[in-house]
């Protein structure tokens, strides 16, 4: 693993972050937008693990940050899905264009 330069790992995580951003911009369905957010959070996790592995191999701080990010992502996904199901009950649709009562 040490033969691979750090910038290549960061290239992968940066590309994954912007793929997730592209999904967040183009999709209008709430579940697919949630998937794009999961991709973004995963790219941040790759960054933390790579920095811990390459720059501070004698510490564990990146591991803890990754664990807390995974925990918060799980909580966020559960709440988002509860909101989506509630929205589907009242609007019969989970498209973000259809939920515009509070827009103006």
């Amino acid at each position: 693993m040490i033969g691979i330069p750090l910038t290549h790992v960061l290239l992968v995580s940066t590309a994954l972050f912007f793929i997730g951003t592209y999904g967040l911009f183009t999709r209008r369905n709430m579940i697919t937008m949630l998937m794009a957010i999961e991709l973004i959070l995963n790219s941040v996790n790759i960054n933390f693990i790579a920095f811990n592995r390459y720059l501070y191999p004698d510490k564990l701080n990146g591991v803890f940050f990754t664990l807390f990010i995974i925990t918060i992502a799980a909580a966020e996904a559960a709440i988002a899905i509860a909101i989506i199901i509630n929205l589907y009950r009242s609007h019969q649709s989970i498209d973000v264009q259809d939920a515009e009562e509070m827009k103006y």
Partner: protein, 172 residues
């Protein structure tokens, strides 16, 4: 090129390809399955960096928890066989431009920075090391964020129940 670097490049190509398909697939169920493959590939990347504990947590929480939750909610709210409406060409074009510019900007910053790799002796990433530092109350312990996160999970659980509960209309 050694075998580990070849497997790293294959793995990262797999991650990026399945991530790209997860945000561009036409059917929502296929998109969820591509997301599943992408998360498994990221777990493989953690295995390759010798972070076995994080890889196990990734597989258990993301692949076993979040993706299954997403698939359940797809079945509850969508007709998963139908194709989703395509976004307008203008929106796709503008977001593609924005994303490409952002990627080039960020990667040029990373490329110019030049990280210095240190060669201090690596700590053993065993579960006992991680657990004892996470629950220690000394200077570099993480027991306070651990407790805060446990309160946050409790709050999220109660919040989910309150949001998704179905209130029966009183029929009189």
């Amino acid at each position: 090129m050694s075998a580990s670097s070849i497997s790293f490049y294959i793995l990262s190509a797999f991650i990026l390809l399945s991530g790209l398909l997860a945000v561009t697939a036409k059917k929502i169920f296929r998109s969820a399955i591509w997301l599943l493959f992408c998360l498994i590939g990221i777990a493989g990347l953690y295995f390759q960096m010798q972070m076995e504990f994080i890889a196990a947590v990734q597989i258990i929480v993301y692949v076993g928890g979040i993706v299954v939750l997403i698939i359940f909610s797809i079945f509850l709210t969508q007709k998963s066989g139908l194709e989703m409406p395509k976004p307008s060409f203008l929106r796709m074009f503008i977001s593609f431009i924005a994303v490409t510019l952002g990627f080039i900007f960020t990667y040029s910053l990373i490329h110019k920075y030049g990280f210095k790799t240190v060669s201090s002796s690596p700590i053993e990433m065993s579960v006992s090391n991680i657990g004892s530092q996470m629950l220690s109350t000394t200077e570099h312990g993480y027991v306070l964020p651990f407790e805060v996160v446990s309160v946050l999970l409790l709050a999220a659980m109660i919040g989910c129940i309150v949001i998704a509960i179905k209130i029966k209309p009183e029929d009189k």
